[in-house]
């Protein structure tokens, strides 16, 4: 793959301006994150070639999709994108099956795509003969996801694909999407309002509509940045990467070793040695000065206070810690900061409620 | 004549030019009166008069229609002949004055226009003439039919039909006479085309209608009709004077 995805565009509308100059990794999922009206959909539309933004430059790998200086503009249907629009946009004249088949047939019925698997995973097997107007809102959204996946795109564009879905359904689809880029190596741009989803899926993040313009970077770094933490409000936290060290089948736990400690998480299906990613919310991390005893909290590790920053509420501080080689964020009360007499350099124990660990 | 009287005259399309002159002449004697002339298909007028169309005089290309109106009790006079129509062979693209009906057998006349013999009086006479000349069988497949004689003339005039059989009154019109030429078809090759008129029941008490009918019989009107190619304008003994 190599070069990655290049997007450079300047969008001007009355009362709205967006300047992007991004180089995104050629693999993995990039989250587009930003408030309503910040230009996420507009950006996907430009990438898909639905709107021709003057002066834009869009390239995926060595394929140039738009380069206005050279008068080059590849029309949408020649761009191998799988685009799930914000409104599902199912064809009303086709059954669910017809909708799914539409892109699948045009992609030459790719055998690399596990059609039955996708249909089953999205729970739409019983709906295949229905018309879109006889579906519920969430059902429509699932069909649209399946349709985009089945067209074997080179780039997936997903505009809030899970917005109308319940937590249980989301929990089913998320791991599948997460596996997508591992098995099919399809990069994706993923628009979502839910930081949890983003954290779960994305490798890279583009933050739109913040007060200081566009930011992007690998997800773990982005999430750990104190200066951006307010954008994420209550959802700030860090990502840690570790390796499965052991399984405990009596307590149904797995131990994950990472640079600076170990945590226990609910039993994982993956084999020992597999690398995994976990998100630790700042709000789930509490600090003590002495190692706690007789507590239900499993994950406790020594750490050093690095810095602290104000949050969206004056009651709270966001504390940056270093646990071995791994940074952590903890959201604690002002009062506790003072009561524990914390300061940069303080030695503390960080307790993480394991149940809060995603996964 | 009464000041401020008014009549509407329904006249067969072949009368277009002659009738305009007749009305102009009539108006000189009746300057305060109003005469509207409507040209159209004789058959259609017949149908309309049966449905109480507001026509006071009806000049048909075929005297059979006025006769039928009398039978239906819709006329205020007996039908009277005002002219005998004649048919001619005419072409807009070549001089037809030397041609005879027999020449139509020549395949270079790939399309020959006549009026529809089923209901147009001129068409029926054309068919009779062709049959009498012995060429009907030879030209039949090359005939195109106009709905009325004016339309037939347009087929020929636009060159879409090389030649056609139309009314003499049309062929004598300057617009047509300037191009090509025509040959009169001998009257004995077909039934006489007796053109007749009646006063309709609606005009029974309209003195202007009566005056117009009387004017039609006048030598002045006859002369005009003659000029436009209508012959035989003397009243036939078979039909008595209409005036009451």
């Amino acid at each position: 793959m190599g070069v990655g995805i290049r997007i450079r565009l300047a969008l001007r509308r009355p009362g709205f301006a967006l300047d992007l100059d991004l180089t995104l990794p050629a693999r993995g999922i990039t989250a587009l994150f930003g408030p309503s009206g910040s230009g996420k959909t507009s950006c996907l539309r430009a990438i898909a070639g639905l709107d021709r933004v003057a002066g834009a430059h869009i390239a995926i790998g060595d394929e140039i999709w738009q380069d206005d200086r050279r008068g080059l503009f590849v029309p949408t249907h020649r761009r191998a994108v799988g685009y799930m629009l914000q409104e599902p946009g199912l064809f009303p004249h086709l059954s669910v099956r017809g909708n799914l088949d539409y892109g699948f047939r045009r992609a030459g019925r790719p055998t690399t795509v596990d059609q039955a698997g996708i249909v089953a995973m999205l729970g739409i097997g019983a709906l295949l003969d229905r018309r879109p107007d006889a579906l519920s809102g969430g059902e429509r959204q699932r069909v649209a996801i399946a349709r985009a996946l089945l067209s074997r795109p080179r780039l997936l564009l997903l505009d809030e694909p899970l917005a109308a879905l319940d937590a249980a359904r989301k929990a089913e689809i998320l791991p599948y999407l997460a596996r997508l880029h591992e098995t099919l190596a399809i990069p994706a741009l993923y628009v979502s309002h839910a930081l949890d989803e983003v954290a779960r899926l994305a490798d890279h993040m583009v933050l739109l509509g913040g007060p200081h313009g566009v930011h992007d970077g690998p997800l773990p770094q982005m999430l750990a940045r104190l200066d951006l933490a307010n954008e994420f409000a209550d959802d700030s936290g860090v990502l840690i990467e570790g390796t499965i060290a052991s399984h405990d089948d009596i307590d149904h736990l797995s131990r994950l070793d990472f640079d600076g400690g170990a945590i226990f998480v609910a039993r994982r299906p993956e084999p020992v040695g597999q690398r995994l990613r976990y998100r630790i919310h700042a709000r789930d991390v509490s600090l003590t000065l002495a190692p706690p005893e007789a507590t239900s909290i499993l994950n406790i590790m020594p750490a050093v206070v690095v810095a602290a920053a104000a949050t969206d509420t004056p009651a709270h501080l966001l504390v940056r810690l270093q646990a071995g080689g791994t940074p952590l964020l903890a959201r604690i009360s002002q009062r506790s900061w003072k009561a524990l007499q914390l300061a940069p350099g303080s030695q503390v124990w960080a307790q993480i409620k394991s149940a809060a660990l995603l996964g | 004549a009464h000041a401020g009287g008014s009549i509407t005259v329904a006249a067969a399309a072949d009368l277009q030019f002659a009738m305009n002159d007749i009305v102009t002449a009539f108006r000189q004697a009746h300057p305060a009166d109003r005469v509207d002339v409507i040209y159209g298909s004789s058959g259609q007028f017949y149908t309309q008069i049966r449905q109480r169309a507001p026509f006071d005089l009806y000049f048909s290309a075929d005297i059979a229609y006025p006769q039928a109106l009398v039978k239906a009790g819709l006329a205020a006079s007996v039908p009277r002949r005002y002219a005998i129509g004649r048919i001619v062979l005419w072409s807009a693209t070549l001089d037809a004055s030397k041609l005879r009906l027999q020449d139509l057998a020549d395949p270079r006349f790939d399309r020959i226009a006549i009026a529809n013999p089923e209901h147009a009086p001129y068409g029926k006479r054309a068919q009779q003439a062709l049959q009498a000349s012995g060429v009907w069988g030879k030209v039949r497949d090359r005939l195109v039919y106009g709905e009325n004689i004016a339309q037939t003339a347009q087929f020929v005039q636009t060159g879409n039909a090389r030649i056609g059989i139309i009314a003499l009154s049309l062929a004598m019109n300057p617009a047509f006479a300037a191009r090509g030429g025509y040959a009169l078809i001998p009257a004995d090759l077909h039934d006489p085309l007796e053109q007749g008129y009646v006063i309709t029941r609606r005009a029974a008490n309209n003195p202007l209608a009566l005056a117009f009918a009387r004017f039609i019989e006048s030598p002045q009107a006859k002369a005009i009709l003659q000029r436009y190619g209508f012959s035989g304008t003397q009243p036939t003994p078979a039909h008595e004077a209409a005036s009451r």
Binding site: A48, L50, T76, H77, L85 | A120, G146, G159
Partner: protein, 225 residues
């Protein structure tokens, strides 16, 4: 009064003409309507107005001008003669051409509005799924404009069946070749053969009613959407 052989010939010819014309109208009208509906060119409006224009002329007059155009001195006639096709007047092909011209607006308008009603969304979605312009047109636009096609077909077909003035002028009323049923009924009326006119008109009406009913019944009901 039963129908004569000539009546059946006229009916058959009419059916042939109406089917040919409707088919050709779809073929010619669909791209034009598509262009009118979707192009952002500033020519769309004049062209749209132009298409509707033949409507305002009385048919016989339109027929007269066509006769001029088709004649040996007219532009069309000159062209067809140069191509060795002879003249279009008094031929079935001529009828077809004239009827197309005359019935075009009845096909263009419903198609155009049906295409406009689709909106961009379904076409955009189709493009993202890899469908090119032609493919999008056939797989999305056509099916979604189905009702427009029905409407266009019904109006175009019926109008061709009923057309009379133009046909009379351009066709020359030749039995078996250009004497369609509308002319035939008219001739019956003119010849005061009312019985035959009633029978033929009645037959035409019943037949057309059944065809229209069948067409409408084949349409699915309106959906909730």
């Amino acid at each position: 009064m039963t129908l004569a052989a000539a009546d059946f010939a006229a009916l058959w010819l009419t059916l042939k003409l109406a089917c040919t014309v409707t088919g050709l109208l779809f073929v010619l009208g669909t791209p034009l309507a598509w262009w009118l509906a979707r192009s952002r060119s500033r020519w769309t409006r004049p062209v749209a107005a132009l298409v509707a224009l033949p409507l305002v002329l009385p048919p016989t007059v339109l027929g007269f001008y066509l006769l001029l155009a088709f004649g040996p001195h007219g532009p069309v006639g000159a062209a067809t003669q140069a191509l060795g096709l002879g003249l279009l007047s008094f031929t079935f092909s001529g009828l077809v051409v004239a009827s197309i011209l005359y019935s075009m607006p009845f096909v263009i308008q419903p198609l155009r509005h049906a295409f406009e009603a689709i909106g961009n969304r379904p076409l955009e979605v189709a493009a993202t799924l890899g469908a090119g312009p032609w493919d999008r047109f056939f797989s999305v636009a056509l099916p979604l404009a189905r009702r427009g096609f029905l409407s266009a077909g019904v109006l175009g077909f019926a109008h061709t069946v009923g057309e009379f003035g133009v046909v009379l002028m351009i066709g020359g009323n030749i039995p078996q070749r250009t004497r369609v049923v509308s002319v035939q009924i008219f001739d019956h009326v003119e010849a005061l053969k009312y019985g035959q006119a009633h029978a033929l008109a009645g037959g035409l009406l019943v037949f057309s009613f059944l065809v229209l009913l069948a067409v409408y019944t084949s349409q699915p009901r309106l959906r909730n959407f």
